[in-house]
């Protein structure tokens, strides 16, 4: 588990992120609430998980991002608020 020290960072275990709910602090195009729909396995088993697929609840738009970006509390808040 990666731990980032700042108070602006959440601590997360990437393996437990699937179906977790997230709220974008600065929503774009009315997309505010998201879910992690997939945790992408690394290409090599010895590598760490790097990417997750997010899906916007409203539009179902999906995109891949680094899971560690979710730890930035200035951009993402856990849960739907």
């Amino acid at each position: 588990m990666t731990q980032l020290p700042s108070k602006n960072h959440h601590q997360l275990n990437p393996q437990k992120l699937r179906l977790s709910k997230w709220t974008a602090v600065n929503p774009q195009e009315k997309e505010k609430h998201f879910l992690v729909t997939k945790v992408i396995d690394p290409e090599q088993p010895k590598h760490l998980i790097e990417l997750v697929v997010m899906e916007a609840v409203l539009t179902k738009r999906s995109f891949t991002m680094r899971w560690e970006d979710l730890t930035d509390a200035t951009k993402w808040v856990q849960g739907w608020v």
């Binding site: 697929v53 899906e55 539009t59 179902k60 738009r61 995109f63 891949t64």
Partner: protein, 301 residues
């Protein structure tokens, strides 16, 4: 696994008006019968107070209690409370039914009936001009079209829709159902690469449509026009035109050329991003984690 041999289909129930605040009777009941269970559930429409005339497929709900089979775990996000009890979205129920049980009636036949009987008038991804020509012809003949492009960092996601048969020949009809997407990571030679399917979460009929599309698209999904449109919609930046090896070398060269930033990792990370040597979606903190190694390599060469 049960076998559903009768339905699902819609039956008129004569119910009209409000069933609860912001919840309207549609006048239809969803019915089905299998060797293990039967379902008979009134269908309601959620009225969005801020957009009361906009009606999407996920605005239709049934009461949770009569649903006699287990829903997919993710369906809890499509449940809601109301004055008449707990509700769950109609398309979450249908998605779970078709995933978990053998249903004789094809989903597209049911969707065609829903389009006739329920007042759908809006969708997340309306049809786009030439969308039907951007997909392989055999997939287009099944009703699939390209409905959007979403460039994000080093990827471009091509989004698909499924058009109801009733709407296919209507030039002005923009209505369709989302049918999943493919995420491509374009290569420096301006080709799209293989792409990865990105099905929606298993809580909507969109999941079923995406699954069907993927099963039919083993030989690829986009037409020549679709490939070109995807390439044109991608944001080609400096880093996207470099191979991984070239990008790594360019970063080291940049770091070597800027010794004044070696003691300020934050500024160096920002400068690398500003120089388009990382994707625009890469956060500074993530670049910063690589900076020390880049400095070591720059000094070693």
């Amino acid at each position: 696994m049960a076998t559903v041999s009768i339905g699902p289909h819609l039956i008129k129930n004569g119910m009209r008006g409000l069933a609860a605040p912001e919840l309207e009777h549609t006048g239809y009941t969803l019915e089905l019968s299998s060797d293990e269970f039967v379902l008979n559930a009134s269908i309601y429409r959620q009225i969005r107070s801020w957009q009361p005339t906009k009606i999407l497929i996920d605005d239709f709900f049934v009461q949770f209690d009569p649903v006699p089979f287990r829903l997919t775990p993710a369906s809890e996000i499509r449940e809601k409370d109301s004055a008449i009890g707990a509700l769950v979205s109609l398309d979450a129920v249908l998605c779970s039914l078709y995933i978990k049980h053998e249903v004789k009636r094809p989903i597209i036949s049911l969707l065609q009936e829903l389009r006739n009987d329920l007042p759908l008038n809006h969708c997340s991804y309306p049809r786009i001009e030439n969308g039907s020509q951007m997909i392989r012809e055999d997939l287009g003949n099944l009703g699939f079209e390209v409905v959007g492009f979403f460039p994000y960092g080093r990827t471009i996601t091509v989004q698909f829709g499924w058009v109801f048969p009733q709407d296919r020949l209507e030039a002005n009809s923009k209505l369709c159902l989302y049918a999943g997407s493919i995420e491509f990571k374009p290569r420096p030679d301006r080709t799209l690469g293989k792409g990865a399917w990105r099905p929606p979460l298993e809580v909507t009929v969109s999941y079923l449509l995406a699954d069907w599309l993927e099963s039919k698209a083993k030989k690829g999904v986009l037409s020549e026009m679709g490939v070109q449109a995807a390439v044109d919609n991608f944001k080609w930046t400096k880093v996207s035109l470099l191979t991984n090896t070239e990008a790594a070398k360019a970063r080291i060269d940049f770091v070597r050329d800027h010794p004044e930033l070696h003691n300020n990792h934050q500024s160096l990370a920002k400068a690398l991003k500003d120089a388009e040597l990382y994707s625009d979606t890469m956060e500074i903190y993530a670049i910063k984690k690589q900076v020390l190694k880049l400095i070591e390599k720059a000094k070693a060469q």
